[in-house]
């Protein structure tokens, strides 16, 4: 750091990244990302598939060298002293990187020994972690017999073996069923309560909402928004009116009729036959909507008002929902 007198807050930052760029030939995976994670806080890095989240994690965990930019993690320079960084971090990747032929216990002992904790300490730590992650009973079974949720927990336990002060979790709940996801959230919340610094990537807005102190929204390798979940919701403003029509072909007509009631233009989803629109005025808007539609041929399956979610944040920032990239136009979406 070139700052002569860094502020107190700056000295307490466990992760600092400046101007991270990663190019693969002509493809720009990251296009100048700055991040600061104060010690003991959780940063949620949010974005759709291919936004560059994993690239950020791989650079910060020394797995990948950036094309440009610099970063320090736990006080060590990621580029100049990768070995020092590795001593102070734990990584749990997007794919549960546990060895399926080893038992849960053997996996954790192996990791402990590679952190050079020594044989006895590694074994004791492995038992302790299996206990903490509700894996004690299955600890002596090969992990290929584990459920997806158990593997993820074991992978996370692997990141914690050396009790590192900084932990990176790359999409810890991708591919888990709702129950596995809730279990994982509980585990992460316990971790956060202990004061570990955490950088978490996710495609799930509710996950960032629930777990992160601060959220950075990333898309096409750039940061497009950042702040607390409340900041982001405030930025989007108002409530959301959501209609589901009985007949999806009537969406354009409903749009035309209802647009004057909104704070912003409605978004249509032909596949789900829904219309979504930011509104102000609460229940009176709801009544007004019903009045406008009354006397037309438009029949409703459902109507409701809700507080904006981070999905809405993403939509208003990018004009796309978070799942657009996967679904593309297969659902015949109109907008």
């Amino acid at each position: 750091m070139s700052d002569v007198a860094p502020s107190i807050a700056r000295m307490g930052d466990s992760i600092i990244a400046r101007g991270l760029v990663k190019r693969y030939g002509d493809v720009v995976a990251l296009d100048g990302v700055d991040l600061t994670v104060p010690t003991g806080t959780v940063l949620g890095l949010l974005g759709p598939n291919g936004a560059g989240k994993t690239t950020v994690v791989r650079i910060l965990t020394t797995l990948l060298r950036p094309t440009a930019g610099s970063a320090t993690v736990a006080g060590a320079d990621v580029l100049a002293e990768p070995a020092r960084v590795r001593r102070h971090i734990g990584l749990s990747g997007q794919y549960a990187a546990v060895d399926e032929y080893l038992t849960g216990f053997e996996n954790l002992v192996m990791i402990g020994r590679l952190y050079h904790l020594g044989r006895r300490a590694s074994r004791a730590r492995a038992r302790e972690l299996l206990e903490n992650f509700s894996l004690a009973e299955s600890g002596d079974r090969p992990t290929r017999t584990y459920s997806g949720g158990m593997r993820r927990r074991l992978d996370l336990a692997g990141a914690l073996v050396a009790d590192p002060p900084v932990i990176f979790l790359d999409e810890p709940t991708t591919g888990l069923d709702p129950r596995g996801r809730t279990e994982m959230w509980n585990v992460i919340q316990t971790l956060v309560a202990k004061g570990t610094t955490l950088l978490l990537t996710t495609q799930y807005l509710e996950e960032a909402d629930l777990l992160a102190d601060e959220i950075v929204v990333i898309d096409h390798g750039r940061i497009i928004a950042q702040g607390t979940s409340d900041d982001l919701k405030r930025e989007v403003g108002g409530e959301r009116l959501e209609l589901t029509l009985a007949d999806g072909s009537q969406l354009p007509e409903a749009e035309r009729l209802l647009a004057p009631l909104g704070l912003g233009p409605p978004t249509l989803d032909a596949g789900r036959r829904t219309l979504l629109m930011p509104v102000a005025g609460g229940a009176s808007t709801l009544a007004e909507t019903l009045r406008v539609l009354d006397g037309t041929s438009i029949a409703l399956d459902d109507i409701g008002l809700r507080r904006p979610t981070l999905d809405d944040v993403f939509l208003s920032l990018t004009g796309r929902t978070t799942h657009d990239e996967d679904a593309d136009d297969t659902e015949g979406r109109q907008s």
Binding site: L63, L64, Y95, A96, Y101, L102, E106, L114, H116, G158
Partner: protein, 267 residues
Amino acid sequence: MRVPHVVADASVVATRNVIKIKRVPDLLVFTTLSPIMFVLLFAYVFGGAIEGGNGDEYRQFLIAGIFAQTVIFGATITGAGLAEDVKKGIIDRFRSLPMSPSAVLTGRTFSDVINNVLVLIVMSLTGLVVGWRITSSFWDAAAGYLLLIVFAYAISWIFAWVGMLVPSPEVVNNASFIIIFPLTFVANTFVPLDTMPAPLQTFAEWNPVSSVTQAARELFGNIPAGTPEPTSWALQHPVAYTLMWSALILAVFVPLANAQYRVSTSR
């Protein structure tokens, strides 16, 4: 990185791979079944035709060749195993740990030595059943086994490189067939060299697979009296020639595989 760490880390990685051999006995069963099958096929199906006799002498000749071919094929486990680890994200986990980077490859090649030792034991027993005998001293025989293992160890570094180059276990397996089949067949492994056309014969005379086979035959005492002296220097000094090749392969492929490890895993 301090040297003790490399060794300690590599032994942790090797232990992990050995546990896998234990957990997936099918793997060992198939790596040993195919050489047993080869021994039986060559001894009884081809043996008679090749020798024109009862095949007893051919079996003495054959076993060292089968040993050489099998331990070389064992090296492909190194490549396929590494490719699988890359695919499954295990290598990322390793790389995020404060371990010695070269321990990943070293550990893998160590555990494949253990695999080869097990395979050699099984094949030796099969050989004894079909009538193969060691007629030399204990130390000569031990040196024969050791030489096979050293040569296979060197070859496993070639496949460590291949495994990092093409990170898909299936591609590694296919690539290995293309490389290993000609190398192990255009050699003195299964037939005497004088039956081959001249260009192949020259290749085979200088093929290190021939020299390791020749060395093993000599050290096991499997060369009958009255066999004419080989014509190439390589086969006249098979132990030295094999060790030279092993050293050369290691000198080239250890750095190459490690460099490829850094490149392939930091994409």
